[in-house]
């Protein structure tokens, strides 16, 4: 004989309360992102009202005259990040291929461990190294050599300061390489083995088989590069220490420059006027917007290749 089911309990159960508590903790991330947007947008209102769009295309940054144009910082951020990518992408891709396709056991484990360590070093430490070790090397060895041999290019004209765009680009490259390596490696490992085995069976050399795999992994690798770009755009302390913080646009990589992040770090505590402070916050707004777009793009690309596997997204 079937007994009737017990009557359903009304009202909240412990289970549903538990779930709601956890869900509200998860919802905090929305609150935080909203706070960031509101705070930064609100803080930059005075500057947006006073300076308008000219802010982004003007080059004078003159707190005394209370006139602010952010173009040199946009330029510095863009050029230092691109320089970093030019240096980091070939090395990072090569290492990723090495780790995913060639290295075995101990060697692979060691290189991966080194990557993890590189990613764990605080950026201020990179800054100190760039300032006290790399800068003297650039000033006395590399930059004079570049000037002597490639001085006919506008890129390598000027005085060897040691501090400047080139130094920032190199330090940034060192900092973003682990991002490119760890994600590209995961993406490469996610490509089906059959593709590799098929090309080898058809008589391809190992390099050619790697080429086939790389081709299949293209969106994911591109994603890792864009993610690294996002990191380079927002990197602050290391760049602030080695770029020279000079407000000018120069074609030469040897000249000191400044980035959006570095000008905020450098001038925020000293900003006395309301408009001065607001202009700096507006730079933060632009930086925030740019990194959001770049990161959204990168996540999309990585998700495309890996089918949204969380562990790979987490490697970022």
């Amino acid at each position: 004989m079937r007994r009737p089911l017990p009557p359903r309990r009304r009202g909240p159960t412990v289970d549903s309360v538990y779930r709601v508590v956890l869900a509200s903790a998860a919802a905090v991330v929305f609150v935080i992102v909203a706070l960031i947007v509101v705070e930064v947008a609100h803080g930059s209102m005075p500057s947006i009202r006073a300076l308008g769009f000219g802010f982004l295309i003007q080059t004078q940054w003159d707190p005394v005259a209370d006139h602010y144009g952010a173009l040199p910082y946009l330029y510095g951020t863009l050029v230092s990040s691109i320089l970093a990518l030019i240096l980091a992408v070939p090395l990072g891709l090569g290492s990723a291929v090495f780790l995913a396709e060639l290295a075995k056991g101990k060697v692979a484990a060691t290189v991966s461990f080194v990557m993890e360590l590189l990613a764990a070093i605080p950026s201020i430490v990179y800054g100190i190294w760039g300032f006290f070790v790399l800068a003297p090397f650039l000033r006395t060895v590399l930059e004079p050599w570049l000037i002597a041999n490639f001085g006919y290019l506008p890129l390598f004209r000027g005085t060897p300061f040691g501090i400047g765009m080139l130094n920032a680009g190199i330090v940034l490259a060192i900092m973003i390489v682990p991002t490119i390596v760890s994600i590209s490696r995961e993406v490469l490992l996610a490509i089906p083995r059959s593709l590799r085995e098929g090309s080898l069976a058809l008589g391809a050399t190992r390099a050619e088989a790697i080429g086939i795999t790389l081709d299949a992994a293209k969106p994911g690798i591109l994603g890792s590069i864009v993610l690294a770009l996002g990191r380079a755009l927002g990197e602050t302390m290391a760049v602030t220490m080695v770029i020279g913080n000079t407000n000018r646009i120069s074609a030469s990589l040897l000249d000191p420059s400044a980035t959006m992040a570095s000008v905020i770090a450098n001038e925020f505590t000293e900003a006395t006027g309301a408009l001065y402070l607001s202009a700096l916050i507006q730079i933060a707004l632009v930086l925030f917007a740019v990194t959001i777009v770049v990161n959204a793009l990168a996540r999309g690309l990585v998700w495309l290749t890996t089918g949204g596997r969380r562990d790979i997204a987490a490697a970022a």
Binding site: I36, P122, R206, G234, A261, T291
Partner: protein
């Protein structure tokens, strides 16, 4: 044709690619593989250089006084960063106290209930949040805490670090909870445990070791952040444990000492950097070991 000669000539279906092309392909193969190995070597090199210089320059000033003494005024040799070390522990501790419960709860939610659109949105927002530059987070904490309070404070620094810690904690927790075998949950539910009890008493203990390790890694990373503290915690040359006042932190101290035109301060910046790296890596290493021991028992 003799049988021997027949065995010598290759059958018709064998590759007829000209010898030069074959040689070229073989050479290209070597070049590409060599380049990959070279790239890996070049990527490891900077780490060796950075750690090498860090140890070489930092070790000289590493003594007990560095941990127990206050900073000395310019010109007086010696002194330490006792206040900055304690300040960093305080600011990071308060931040962890705020970020850990929130982040772990959110991560558990995503792993145990996270199937719908809401969860996808939370995941995506977490990813977005992890991409926000730390200097921007500093600006936000300045507007949220420093402006209303009317002064720089250690608490403002903690708020900034909390925002930076959350995404990695959430993501790591979700990963770790997912690793718990489905059969654990099924067994608990089959025995009549409600879902919350299953999560709380079966799943979480099983995932504890992983959650602790991964979360502390996030905390240790945040401890090394400088940019968001520049205009929140600000810094302080004196002994202060008050979180509503400007407080000294190790990363900001290192920055100030590295920029200063005094070689003695620069030396101390190196030592500070060494201590910071040791702090960051030792915390995570020690945790990893203790967690492993607890788990093995």
């Amino acid at each position: 044709m003799t049988p021997a000669a027949e065995a010598m000539t290759p059958p018709a279906w064998v590759d007829r690619t000209p010898r030069a092309v074959q040689l070229w392909r073989a050479a290209l193969n070597k070049i590409v593989l060599g380049a990959c190995i070279l790239a890996a070597g070049l990527v490891v090199l900077p780490l060796v250089l950075i750690v090498g210089y860090l140890v070489a320059n930092g070790l000289a000033g590493l003594n007990l006084a560095f941990f127990t003494h206050m900073p000395k005024p310019v010109g007086e040799p010696g002194g330490g960063m006792a206040n900055a070390i304690v300040g960093t522990l305080l600011v990071v501790g308060v931040a962890a106290a705020m970020a850990l419960p929130l982040g772990i709860s959110a991560g558990v939610y995503l792993a145990e209930y996270g199937r719908g659109r809401f969860a996808t949105l939370v995941r995506y927002t977490t990813d977005v949040l992890s991409g926000v530059p730390s200097i921007v987070v500093g600006v936000v904490a300045y507007g949220l805490v420093v402006v209303p309070m009317g002064r720089f404070s250690g608490f403002a620094g903690s708020v900034a670090l909390t925002i930076l810690m959350l995404p990695p904690i959430i993501r790591a927790t979700e990963e770790m909870v997912r690793l718990v075998p489905q059969s654990y949950r099924q067994a608990a539910l089959a025995l009549g445990a409600p879902r919350w009890k299953t999560t709380q008493q079966i799943v979480l203990p099983a995932a504890r070791a992983g959650i602790v390790t991964a979360s502390m890694l996030a905390v240790a990373r945040a401890a090394g952040e400088t940019a968001p503290l520049l205009f929140t915690a600000l810094g302080n040359r004196f002994w202060s444990l008050r979180m509503d006042q400007p407080i000294a932190t190790l990363p900001v101290f290192i920055y100030d000492y590295a920029k200063a035109p005094y070689t003695d301060w620069n030396r101390q910046a190196w030592t500070g950097a060494l201590v910071l790296v040791l702090l960051v890596t030792l915390i995570s290493l020690a945790l990893r070991l203790t967690v492993r021991r607890v788990r093995d028992r």
